[in-house]
Symmetry: C2
Subunit: 545 residues, 2 copies
């Protein structure tokens, strides 16, 4: 794959900056008046998801230029390259074929696809075996609980899917342990019975510090409870590409499922990394989850830029980051089951696009990936929404809005939807000082008091937001939603000219961590570290001793 | 209390901006060399917490000017005013007396303090009664589980404290329900027995939509399980100032604990709002939690600006927001129990300081509160740390670092501490392109490949961060830590000239939400809403029908 041009080299970019500068002082409400069909024209749909991007600081003319930017960056060709297995991860010399994991055929990629099909069969086997009660622990009792031990991409995806699809869950309870803090594992094991607990060790290298440490502690817990080393295969599966290390740990090859270097951790929930959710949901639901993502892949591959959800959302991201100086992006799922979506998207977007050099290694002189944050609505309304409505920062928002509930409590859920719509509208319309004054007078305040308080109640509005709405959180819609953000992330990386599939920035901290751990253990080092770190180590020693 | 001057009116401010501009290109490591005692001189301690702020883009001279800024803003006098009950919440004409809730005496505030003492006695009574098994449900069985129903300030604080102090927990399990999404309550009740479950309804007005809706659903769950209306007092407590509404719901006055208008929701965990954690922890531990906060109050009241933890942290916040254009602040607790600290701090800081007008209502022309985000370490290391290390955004970090563990697994915990220290150090030192090249050659890469990859491995370092370290997470240290951030928030508000204790910006969304809910219910409205909202309502109706 040829390397991408820089954002600033795209012909439309300069003009877009000028347009953004003009639109900063434009009222989105005025755009609705000027552009009568805005509510229909700024909507795109795919795979059951409806994206409403009408409430943005973007008029028809600017949109046309933004779409040109997408064309100039050759996003449709880049999508084909990604999905077709081109070497998009240039620093590591690999394709990024997470889309293959949900494909039903793969012309030109038959070898890899055969491996995927084989891994799916293994997942299906294990999900069936555990759900049927066939898999038994050291005492002969059937497995009731599965604990996934992994971190980052080996944790956030399956954890999100299991949480979000609770209404589809079967009888097996899945738990997640990630942190090297021993409290994480200890708290999780507190209510579990070793005889009926199965662990999935999820680590490509089988050497991830957190995962290996927790895995060894889990192993000791089982042995202490009476399991023999020969029983370990009854209680451990491994998702790894290091079969030798897994075998050394005590997991035989039959209990290992593969990870491939052409799937990045943060894009891997569709692979055997998702085994815990395949167990929790059952294989059919997991297939529907794959199908939802595949539907989004098909849309991404074929829809023109103007209708292409990932491309549109990516162009909006770049529009705000590089046209308006936005430093952050907010995701607000109005669904308690999706509460972990922002955590998942933090890794997906910030590990992918938190880069300062282009794919060819040259330094960039513009901003790349923003900080992504958020929480489940309505929680944030009683927390940080104050800043969204009245703060001084530009915070573009994505509302994620499932329109129905699985709980059977339709009327209560209606309140949730009403609140989501209300927040989106409040960000748009705001409240003028006059309206604020009227509102205060209507509450019975006297004129002087209303005058004094009106500036505090007034809200500028005009705060950009999208609404992604869909019928309900199902395996299919969740698959489509995650794939949407995956492709959005890729497109933004392409617009910025960066490689979204490496993560070199996390290495140094690991190396220093090993060094400090060894120093704590008393292993002599010649050179001292910086004096601040040495002082903290001294404080630590004081409490240890 | 006289209103605060604006930040830009403080004499030191202009010079500080110039200093910040100079320091942008300074190496913090060079500062360590130039200022030999930096590791000791940039440390302050209080209430068992040690703040290391040596790894900042701040030299001794700039610090001196920053401290002057604090003096010019009269932070010590403002602290006295806050703690002494001055009307710091000027728009609502109230003091903000959360410090009174943890005081052991209160000269000049005897009336309010008598109410606090009385409420403490009630909390102690209920915590004792429930923990002793004396409180029995409708079937005569003892209460085993407590569900706190509240949102925002009536949820985030007690939830954080209960999570963080799990090692101190007694036999009662406390659960938290906040979201109006019916899935939140439904999932929580799934494993609970109505006969042994007690609910705490936590809402100052007793009209908060989420809380009242969930409260009524909980009430129906009990009645369906066989409780009589006359049994409700066995299963419900209310924390409210609206006794009439509580009585109408079915909670008698004896079962109501007070909320006061001189305590803001996000500052209320020390009040009866904290009853659920007092039950979970037992009264003695809850008193230690209050004592920790009181120790921080005493420090805040008396320490000079140069030694005052809340003031120093607030000055650093303003330094980065208004001197360097930082738009966000990261909090990374290296402790799984503190995983919810960022959520809590989002409300505390963003609801307090996400404002665009001064306390007197005049528009501000500078930035106020930043976006606060973060997660428990080491989780983020496998997620967004890529952006912290190599992204293009300035993200000042607070590391929260307890040095020992309650788990008994000291060696594993040592890995957690090592990782926290390593991340702080990696942000400081970074890695030069030469070092990156050496590292790649050492791995066996050939010269050309090392040359090609070096820019991707290189990290600029020089990324500012603080470390707040302490012996262990205990009721005392957690109380001190939360009070530290409370006072930091207040000081920043004072520096920005705003009122940190109101939240007018959340009202409009609630009003629009009620209107939209009524429209969904079919109640006729004359004027349509904006066409985007109307289109979403049409989509919702389509799925409902």
């Amino acid at each position: 794959m040829t390397s991408s041009p820089l954002l600033t080299d795209l012909p439309a970019f300069g003009e877009l900056q000028a347009l953004a500068s003009d639109l900063k002082s434009t009222s989105i409400q005025a755009l609705f008046e000027r552009e009568g069909n805005r509510a229909e024209a700024f909507v795109a749909q795919a795979a059951g998801l409806r994206l409403d991007y009408s409430k943005h600081l973007l008029d028809g003319a600017a949109r046309a230029r933004l779409l040109e930017l997408g064309e100039q960056a050759q996003l449709p060709r880049k999508a084909q390259a990604l999905l077709g297995g081109a070497e998009v991860n240039n620093t590591e010399g690999r394709p990024a074929l997470h889309s293959l994991l949900r494909a039903s055929s793969a012309p030109g990629l038959e070898d890899k696809f055969a491996e995927v099909v084989e891994a799916r069969a293994q997942m299906r086997h294990w999900a069936g075996r555990i759900n049927s009660g066939e898999q038994r622990g050291f005492s002969g009792a059937a497995i009731t609980d599965v604990v996934n031990i992994g971190i980052g991409g080996s944790d956030l995806g399956p954890r999100l899917v299991t949480d979000a699809l609770k209404p589809f869950q079967g009888d097996i309870n899945c738990h997640y342990v990630a942190n090297v803090d021993p409290a994480d594992l200890q708290d999780t094991l507190l209510d579990l019975d070793p005889a009926t607990t199965l662990f999935i060790i999820c680590s490509k290298s089988f050497r991830t510090e957190e995962t290996l440490t927790n895995g060894l502690a889990a192993r000791a817990w089982l042995i202490n409870a009476g399991a023999e080393v020969s029983d370990l295969d009854k209680h451990f599966l491994a998702i790894t590409s290091n079969l030798a290390a897994a075998a050394e740990f005590g997991v035989s090859g039959d209990n290992c499922l593969p990870m491939w270097d052409w799937v990045g951790g943060r894009y891997s929930v569709w692979s055997a990394v998702g085994l815990s959710c395949a167990i929790a949901l059952g294989w059919e639901h997991f297939e529907q989850f794959l199908d939802g993502a595949a539907a989004m892949d098909a849309h991404f591959a074929s829809a023109p830029v103007a209708d292409n959800l990932p491309m549109l959302m990516s162009l909006l991201e770049v529009w705000y980051c590089n046209g308006f100086g936005a430093g952050n992006h907010v995701v607000l799922p109005y669904d308690q089951g999706l509460a972990r979506l922002p955590d998942f998207l933090q890794q997906l977007t910030m590990e992918s696009n938190g880069k300062r050099v282009a794919a060819d290694g040259s330094a960039l002189d513009y901003d790349t990936g923003p900080v992504l944050w958020g929480s489940a609505g309505t929680m944030g309304q009683h927390s940080f929404h104050q800043l969204l409505h009245q703060g001084t920062r530009l915070c573009p928002v994505d509302f994620i809005l499932p329109l129905t509930t699985h709980t059977g409590m339709a009327e209560q859920h209606q309140r949730l939807v009403a609140n989501g719509l209300a927040q989106s509208r409040a960000l748009l319309v705001g409240r003028t000082p006059d309206e604020a004054r009227e509102s205060l007078l209507a509450r019975g305040l006297d004129a002087a008091e209303a005058e004094r308080l009106a500036p505090h109640l007034a809200m500028p509005g005009n705060r950009p937001n999208s609404v992604i709405s869909f019928a309900a959180v199902t395996p299919h819609s969740l698959g489509a939603l995650i794939a949407l953000y995956e492709h959005r992330t890729f497109c933004s990386g392409q617009l910025w000219g960066i490689n979204s599939f490496d993560q070199w920035g996390v290495e140094l901290g690991k190396e220093i961590g090993v060094d400090i751990f060894q120093r704590m253990a008393g292993e002599a080092r010649t050179a001292p570290l910086d004096p601040a770190t040495e002082a903290l180590l001294a404080q630590w020693r004081q409490y240890r001793d």
